[in-house]
Subunit: 249 residues, 6 copies
């Protein structure tokens, strides 16, 4: 159930059954020569939608632009400053908490978001922890990366072995191919050279120097829409099960 | 051309032809007993997508949650604090300006966003105006409400007369019915009483007191998907034409 | 009754009769070759003072520097960043609300302030809308541009026709001539060329390129102190009447 | 020369002769049973205007609301949060520095402003000190309290002895009586009891508990307009001389 | 070499040899019935000092108060809001980068800091990534938790097995016992009950409910000063070696 | 009693006896050719520790990096932006107030901190003064510079006469020599030339131009560890006595 497709009275009814909500968060950034700039948002939204179906959960609006400063040397990439993303997440949580939502389950499609999202959770909790909280509603937030669910990782390894890589992976490209078959891109993909100095990086210029076409050791040409379907469905199942656990805690 | 469905190299190529971009912005808020919470985002995104097709423009990611503090007494509504929305828009513009985009054409679906979006533009300009600008790219931003394009207003008047109202209008509901026919909602809709004290309001509690079911003098039961198609296409045409003017200035 | 000229006990007494207050806001910016840099603040303060006399309202301190980033390429212009002006207005409202003031009626002399002032109102309301408000006082804010009151506009049209223009207008110059006859300036005023690309503009450099001597299609040489007196008195009457309406709402 | 009464071209001309400017800053706060709420702003503005005449200096717009959190338990008092005042002062300095002003001489009427104004200066300098400054203009700021100029203090002591006190002093009341003879207030003024715990205080409630009618050990009934004239003229002379020193440094 | 014990000329000389610096960061928070509130800061500072000796590195001032909102229900705990800690780290890095430091190696004693410190790094990088960087120095930051160095973890497992736990661990207590033998505390330590709902937690109240005496499944009574010496020395060796790697990258 | 060396239960017990706490604050900045960069932090921490012993007070963690923008042209100096330091102090006070601490006695080692620390106190008070405070704890903050205690100043004058100077004074160097005898530095110290334009300064470049080796008219070669001991003990005694006064108020 997408919040965007509900009326306010329907949300009111849903809240009587459960105070949980799924929140997809992605990014808008380069994904190599063939990956879509919206890859992370598309994956997070599609997987959260499917997981919400399974778990009977409301799914909030997707945060489409995340923290991607390190991709900014590739045209079309966008980023929020970390401090802006913290404010956005705080405002989302505060808004929904006002109505009675208490459990926020963020389904994430982009590794670069992780620290900032967790920091946002701490910022939300800190207000209550420092002043004692008063009448403020007590919320609980969780962050899950869809691509790191154990069965998803196993399936990706099965499909792609060490050609999965770390960015513009065939897994995520496959999911976008399944979700948006109208936007499958093809390009010559030379084997990426082993990065100078490992997989760590700092700012955008540093990232581009190390990963000249945007990929991190991945071979996205292996992706197929059918892989995408399997990955998406497995991720949705696992996240739905984990979400139910989260509500029980 | 949706930025989300392009590769970074495709964006690079596009930028050689034009430095303009369309930016849809909506809201996530109650739209009366039958309107979708995502109405404003759905309309802005669909109309911008169609306008982008006509104008050959890149269309950036939709800002789905806007400034809707006055709707917060209705379950499911979300809002960014105005200061957060200013930061979000600044980060969007700064990110894209880094790549060479210079003309930002925001297509808006929510009246409550207007002041804050304009304030964000001023915040962006102010930096350059105060320090002289240095090497910073010079950008130009515009805001257009799709529902206030002259031919769109005329068509809505033709369809609905004074039952168009000011919030949860049949026009916007119609567009969502066309875009998301799977999510058409029906409910008993009593004629809304004339609001106590006119159409101005302050905070969420005040809004709800004046407009108890969320609508502002509108009769959304008049909406049809076919109306929605006509309104959407007209809005897209007019905005595409206006966008071309904007690029010429 | 100017707040600045009252004692705290007098304010305490006034509050028993009415919780409304008028708040003048202007700007400090170029007004063409003959206009005073303080034009907008001088007009707003003088008109609010007169309106306060008529309505029996307390008049708060004038915000003398507003949002004028677009005038910064002309020497002597000053601006607050929009985010600063939002904080200033919030602090003004919060301060006075602490004492029991509930209705804030801003009398504005500068079009460039409008979006930011409205955004400030939203920021004030948002706090209450998001957290439910608790014991926080509920306030109501309004913004009125003195030069856009209907009878004032008609009188200006009568005096100046299409030579009123949009910035450094003879109307506002006339009011300053009446208020500060010691500071009437004279200069050769060539007819301003029609602006390249209409009356929209972005940052300070863009504004100056379009409007080289600072005026926007106005002929301030038509202003007279007597015009100023008539405009001021009419504006004050209309605003006083509108203020009484505002208190009733 | 008040900036507000100049045209932009006049300011341009002035800047060729001197890059200094005087900046009056006051407060809007209770001044005991007979003192005006605008006392500090009225004094700072009038004295700066007179000092500017003597020194041939441009005088900028008065900051009328300062940092007066400790007076907030008396009706009509207003305050900026310290962080807001820091932003206001930064924006004022940045705006004027853009045009070539380099020396900012703040003439202050309110002790409560001192720390915050100095902190604002440090915030302005820090930007340059941390990043090396680049092309940013180098500015120099100074703060002077008019009532602490040595000859002014001596004259006040001569007039009032130990009845000068520390807030709502006869000196400042006298200056307002001279400047605004239309607003002289009279009230029964019992000798204020010696404050419990000395003259330090924290927040507004604490202040009011210690100083129940707002005064701090002062007898403002001794003030006369003629005293005010003498104090104002002496302060203006001394500040004008000190300003010339400041420009030479 | 502690920065605090050097003169500015000595730092100038050091910078010619290496642009790296170690930055200890801890926390000020409860560490169970026998642990010191300064445990994390004491460990980070002592281990960084020892590692700096081995590596010949300058060691900057310890950040003694970190992000510990979840410990705030235990008396004496302190926390920075995450947004404050981001600003602190940015200012530290900006300050030292001004002098030519380029490699910042944070040695951390508190798991709760991790997300916020990483977010701070991203905030620092983002500025350069978004605007292209200009002349701004390019910096590289790294974060290492001393207690997660592989050989340190093995040694702790060897000493304490599964009684190491997750907070107020015997390892960290042991290090403080070695560093501050004057402050060894003894108390009856019942075996902590298995936490209700696992080891995740949200705000301070939630933490205290789950971990009533502050420990997370640890038995700090096993700690000895001699263990502390071994752990400290091993951590220092491993971090010094890793730091040299970091400088080479 | 250093907070860092206590357990949370010990702090709980202490709070029953007194709600006061001492808070040392220093700086990390050049102190001339022979002074340690940590001079101000070392002095504040050592003196606060000794004063705490005498007064039986809890001593919180030292703020080691303060507001030192004017020293940034000397290698190794660090600064917080004033706005960051305000946030740090607010967070410290808010954290400890949550537990019941009410009296915050800051012992300061650096003149450059004074305005910003006072501004931070005002920011803390302002929140309560503006909104009335609600249930928020009422706190009282004080700031004392150890080197300005009357008996300390007299002793320094006795030791050094007019060679005490204003920065990198023999007094503070002496205290660091006593506290850290392992880090006594020696260098040729030419008599500093009288500064061009007196002892005022603005940003870092301006400071360095006026005070080329960092000292302000001081001769730190006169310092001895024995002087340091006497100064430290006298400062601790006087501050402990003053602290007891502060608690009584």
């Amino acid at each position: 159930m997408l919040l965007h497709l509900m009326t306010w009275r329907e949300v009111e009814t849903c809240l009587k059954a459960s105070t949980g909500i799924m929140m997809p968060i992605g990014s808008t950034e380069q994904h190599g020569p063939t990956g879509l700039i919206g890859t992370d948002a598309i994956c997070a939204e599609a997987i959260a939608t499917a997981a919400g179906e399974i778990a009977g959960a409301v799914v909030g609006p997707t945060i489409g632009v995340g923290m991607a400063q390190h991709h900014m040397a590739f045209t079309g990439s966008m980023t929020l400053r970390p401090s802006t993303l913290v404010s956005v997440i705080s405002d989302y949580v505060d808004s929904l908490a006002r109505h009675g939502f208490e459990r926020f389950y963020f389904i994430n499609g982009h590794g670069g978001n992780v620290s900032t999202v967790r920091t946002a959770f701490q910022e939300v909790y800190a207000q209550t922890s420092i002043d004692g909280g008063g009448d403020r509603p007590r919320v609980r937030c969780a962050l899950r990366n869809w691509y790191q669910q154990p069965r998803v990782q196993a399936l990706a390894r099965n499909f792609y072995g060490d050609k999965e890589g770390y960015h513009a992976t065939p897994s995520e490209i496959a999911v976008t191919q399944y979700v948006r078959p109208d936007a499958i891109k093809v390009a010559e993909l030379p084997r990426p050279p082993p990065p100078a100095g490992g997989f760590s990086f700092t700012d955008a210029e540093d990232y581009r120097r190390r990963f000249p076409d945007g990929r991190m050791a991945s071979d996205p040409s292996l992706a197929t829409p059918e892989h995408g379907r399997e990955l998406l469905e497995l991720a949705a199942e696992d996240l739905a099960a984990d979400y139910r656990e989260f509500l029980r805690d």
